[in-house]
């Protein structure tokens, strides 16, 4: 469990640097048992310090728990070994040089507990025990660093794999016309979650290979529309996004109150939003205009008493198409074949 595929030459890329906050989360998520070295190299109290020297050298460790009859009785470290060497006394028994008051950690505790102890005590390693107090391993700061890096690399690869899969979705599934539909329910007045759906949509588009510009235009448009459902409707509404390689169609639908004068609603600065909404930075009467600027086509349909439907379309140029990593020329050839 402790010997993961960590390579010494691993460099932290910009992508991984963005995961630094994740390190803090991982300190709470990862268990000591997941990152410790197990089993630990141990020694007995009656071994000689010269044996310890040989062990440290051969096993490349800098400390070892001292065990007598299956019980943890102490810990011996490189500092103890140096003392024995200085005193020219490597023939002495481990029991003469070991530290007897040993703080232990439980395998089931989060890694943050180990970090706290390392900081508070300045020791370099601590024995790890199970719930019954039996030694199950040893942990150093190096073990924690390796464990966290391994977990980060895993996270990072997971996102890369997700992107890769999503990008090939449209290629992998064969149909005359493939599309992906995302649906979200939006509650009226739910400002706390306002923008969550838009955030998921933007992320999905990035995973599907949308350019930052396309993802941004879609994100801004759908966010204004999502906020309109929260602010202006009676019962909330629905967000629906249909993604195809060549276009993205986003839609919001609600069942009231409807818009009386659509031209007026589209006029920049016109807003029926209450002051409470203005305090949140919305209700400037610019949303629909913003949407219009971001998308290629916009249709707003509304009937008072029935509800409102807003459709927003973005057309993707050949070099912006989603879910396909092949060159535009390639794609033209294949599309030509499919349409015969």
């Amino acid at each position: 469990m402790n010997e993961g595929p960590i390579r010494a030459d691993r460099v932290i890329t910009d992508g991984a640097a963005g995961l630094i906050t994740r390190v803090e989360e991982l300190a709470y998520e990862l268990k000591i048992g997941e990152v410790m070295t197990s089993p630990a190299k141990t020694v007995t109290p009656d071994m000689r310090m010269s044996d310890v020297l040989a062990l440290f050298r051969d096993a490349k460790v800098s400390g070892a728990p001292v065990m007598a009859n299956g019980e943890l009785v102490g810990i011996v470290s490189i500092a103890d070994l140096i003392r024995a060497l200085q005193e020219n006394n490597t023939a002495a028994a481990v029991s003469e040089y070991m530290t007897m008051q040993v703080t232990t950690l439980e395998a089931g505790s989060p890694v943050i507990e180990a970090l706290k102890l390392f900081t508070a005590t300045r020791v370099g390693r601590l024995p790890v025990v199970d719930q019954a107090g039996h030694l199950v391993g040893i942990i150093t700061k190096g073990d924690i660093t390796r464990g966290v890096l391994r977990a980060l690399e895993y996270d990072y690869q997971e996102e890369e794999v997700r992107k890769y899969r999503a990008r090939h979705l449209f290629e992998d599934i064969v149909s005359d016309r493939t599309s992906l539909t995302l649906r979200y329910k939006i509650k009226q007045g739910d400002f706390a979650h306002g923008g969550n759906a838009s955030s998921h949509i933007k992320r999905a588009l990035v995973r599907l290979g949308a350019s930052p510009q396309i993802a941004r235009r879609c994100g801004i448009a759908i966010y204004e529309a999502e906020m309109n459902l929260i602010i202006h409707t009676t019962n909330g509404g629905a967000v629906r996004v249909e993604i195809e390689p060549h276009q993205i169609v986003m839609e919001t639908i609600d069942d009231g109150p409807g818009i009386e004068d659509i031209d007026l609603a589209m006029t920049p600065g016109y807003s029926t939003a209450p002051d409470s909404v203005r305090e949140l930075g919305f209700g400037a009467g610019m949303g629909l205009k913003n949407i219009q600027r971001c998308v290629d086509d916009m249709y707003l349909d509304s009937t008072v008493g029935r509800g409102t439907r807003l459709e927003m379309r973005i057309f993707l140029k050949p070099d912006e198409q989603l879910g396909d990593s092949s060159s535009p020329a390639d794609r033209a050839g294949r599309n030509g074949g499919a349409s015969q």
């Binding site: 906050t21 966010y223 930075g281």
Partner: protein, 117 residues
């Protein structure tokens, strides 16, 4: 300009953790209306604002804002800070007002990323 230089210039207190302090910031924008940000800000900008609802973080995410500075010592709720950590958007608070901060940053060479109406 790098984010760390901005933090110094605004004498800011950083509210989120774990972001890259060397992150480049392309320019600045000051706004209290989220629709203004969504409409008139270029990607990669620093946003100065007096508003501190969760919507500021969502708006920043949609508009690809590089970092947010809350003016006049405003502080968002813990939920909003948690959201910013999750979406990896740095939050900074400064005791100074909007005019003062825009002036300092502009003078130090951070140009405007606001597009005129």
């Amino acid at each position: 300009m790098e984010l760390k230089q901005i933090i110094q210039l605004v004498e800011g207190e950083v509210l989120t953790s774990g972001f890259d302090i060397n992150r480049p910031v392309r320019g600045g924008c000051g706004a209290d209306l989220m629709s203004d940000v969504l409409a008139y800000i270029g990607p990669g900008a620093l946003l100065l604002t007096g508003l501190c609802s969760a919507q500021v973080v969502r708006t920043a995410q949609m508009a690809d804002v590089a970092a947010i500075v809350f003016v006049r010592g405003k502080r968002p709720s813990l939920d909003t800070i948690a959201l910013a950590n999750q979406e990896r958007i740095p939050l900074i608070t400064s005791a100074h007002g909007m005019f003062e901060l825009c002036g300092r940053l502009h003078q130090a060479g951070l140009h405007s990323l606001e597009t005129p109406a």
